[in-house]
Amino acid sequence: MVAYSLIVNSISKSFLTAENMFDILKSSSIMGVMAIGAFIVMLSGGIDISFPAIATVSMYVTVRILERFNGNLFLAFAMASVFGIMFGCVNALLVYYFNIPTLIVTLGTSSIFHGSMLSIARIPHIYTVPGYFFEFSKKYIFSWVNGEGVTIGLSTMTCTMLIIAILTWLLLHYTMLGRGIYAIGGNLEAAKRAGFNIMKIQFFVYSYIGFLSGIASILYVSLVRHVHPFNLMGMLLDVIAAVVLGGASLAGGSGTVLGTMLGVGMIYFIKNSLILMKIPSYWDPVVIGLIIIVSTGINAYRKILGRSGVKIIEA
């Protein structure tokens, strides 16, 4: 990664500047928050592809309500997360009680959530977002002004992401619930026999990703300043790519929060460097696709090499 950034810097001088680095951190915070949620689901052995839909719907409903009534930023975060948790519980209900594969559940619920919003809402775009939303993304925890008069600093958005990451890490490593998530991802049956409450854990996992999608959606509104019904939907693959790139295994039970954050950083790093190297954005999906294939490929292939002794049984 260091080598890569040096190469990019030799092509475009503006890459390795503090300004660009903090910019990457700021713009990656939305994806970072979502990626932590997606990571937790993958850790528990599932996959959730409905979180962009959850984020879009909770974003829309929250902003629509707050547009009518007076509110503040705290209320916005609270409402969006409550909506997110509700949608997450629907997923958890289906996954736990009917034992449906998570991909199929969330494929279904994703189109249910997003489709209902689009068919009920007559105008799915909102441009009249209350002012306190933007204030949030403009604030900095600390900042300075560089020679050209541009403010550089650690944005509150980045901070939100970092706080969530640290809390999630603590949760995963120091609570029974967190160890339970690792356990059901590693081996569901073993976790059940060991006395973990599977229902509680699964409900937690899916409402947690719902909660984080709610948070991410408000971050998105505050950065972009309008509500668009399709933009967030396009983030699905990038988020999953980031999580997989960060070393989480689709089979569950392995991966770290730090890895996920590095994965998100890597994706934004590459996207940003493509822009600075003046490569047309048509190449974005090609690069992302290659990254997914290569990174999952390396992981999978390493597993084969490591276990060549039991290869016959594995196949």
Binding site: F98, N99, G108, Y282, P285, V286, T296
Partner: protein, 369 residues
């Protein structure tokens, strides 16, 4: 041969009852729609339109089915369809109008090309030459799709990436390549003879329907009468057992995804020759529907269980409902809600029915005691 007899001996008993339910559902859907909208639903234009729309979606669903039978899933079929379609369209146009359309002009998109075709009043070649060009186009489309499928197969079986991730990655990759080639603009204005494949009729039967029937027959023969077909079922049902009974799983999986790719290639031809254009992202709503229809058709997402007849009936049901919605005037978004609910609902039913059946059996069993 032993494997064959075991598998074929076991399957019909399970699927027979399921297919009967599908036929009943299909009849109910037809009757309800005919009662609700008698003039519109049963009109010949609507029926003919359905006959044109079923094949392209149907072939994609068959492709998805083959992948799911092996215990995997192929999320890249739509992207493969688009990529193969775009390259085939470029081949078709540059062969048909060699004198005035250079490649760069073609890639600039629809406007330049439309102007060229109408202003210069270009005539595509006729007779045998056109036939050869069309043949070349078809083989390019199927070839490209086959190569894409082969890559999926290698990633899934040799490198052993989980199928969801491998095909998610290749989906993005193929989509990206199509985007790089076309820059997002559509390619249109195919020569008339080519359009016959997708929109012509032989007496009253649409050509795509004939192709679809051929595909259904071929896939059904392939799954039930060939060694590879049985191997796919065996690998899907229990890959370790298949391995120990002497199957080369790696080979089987590569060929599975190759077949999926080839079918996506056939779908490409049907799509681009019906709508007379090709564009990145065309048909992306088919992905959800294809998974839905395969599961609706009784294929197990764990692999190994399911047959062509169930999926074909599922396709007809889905299309009938879809065109019913069209007539009633539901929006696209609302249709998505219904597909999603159906997907969840059908999987729930598939989960509950065996449980109930087991409980009943247990009850009668204990009563006997």
């Amino acid at each position: 041969m032993k494997l064959k007899s075991i598998l074929s001996g076991k399957r019909p008993a399970i699927t027979y009852s399921k297919n009967m339910t599908f036929i009943i559902v299909l009849i109910v859907v037809f009757v309800v729609l005919s009662i609700l909208q008698p003039t519109k639903f049963l009109s010949s234009t609507n029926l003919q339109q359905m006959a044109f729309q079923i094949p392209e979606f149907g072939v994609l669903a068959l492709a998805m089915m083959v992948a799911m039978l092996s215990g995997g899933i192929d999320l890249s079929i739509i992207a493969v369809t688009n990529l193969a379609g775009i390259i085939a369209a470029i081949v078709l146009l540059s062969l048909s109008y060699p004198e005035s359309l250079d490649l760069s002009m073609l890639l600039k998109g629809i406007m330049a090309e439309e102007a060229a075709v109408t202003e210069l009043a270009l005539q595509p070649p006729t007779g045998l030459k056109m036939f050869i060009i069309i043949l070349a186009t078809i083989s390019v489309a199927i070839g490209i799709a086959g190569v894409c499928g082969l890559l999926n197969g290698v990633l899934v079986s040799v490198i052993r990436i989980p199928p969801i991730l491998a095909t998610l990655g290749t989906m993005k990759l193929y989509e990206g390549i199509s985007l790089v080639i076309t820059k997002g603009s559509p390619i249109t204005n195919f020569p008339k003879p080519f359009l016959f494949i997708g929109s012509g009729t032989i007496s009253v039967i649409p050509v795509p329907m004939i192709i679809f029937i051929v595909c259904v027959a071929a896939v059904s023969m392939f799954l039930n009468r060939t060694r590879l077909g049985f191997s796919i079922y065996a690998v899907g049902e229990n890959s370790i057992a298949a391995r120990f009974s002497g199957l080369k799983n790696t080979n089987v999986l590569i060929k599975t995804y190759l077949v999926t790719g080839l079918l996506a290639g056939v779908a490409t031809i049907l799509i681009i020759s019906r709508v007379d254009s090709v564009k990145v992202g065309y048909g992306s709503s088919f992905l959800l529907q294809a998974v839905l229809v395969v599961i609706l058709g009784g294929v197990s997402y764990l692999g190994g269980i399911g047959n062509v007849a169930g999926v074909v009936l599922g396709i007809f049901i889905l299309r009938a409902i879809s065109s019913g919605f069209n007539i009633i005037g539901f929006s696209n978004h609302f249709r998505n809600v219904i597909w999603g609910s159906m997907l969840v609902f059908v999987t729930i039913i598939n989960y509950i029915i065996p449980k109930i059946a087991e409980r009943l059996r247990f009850k009668t069993h204990s009563a006997d005691m």
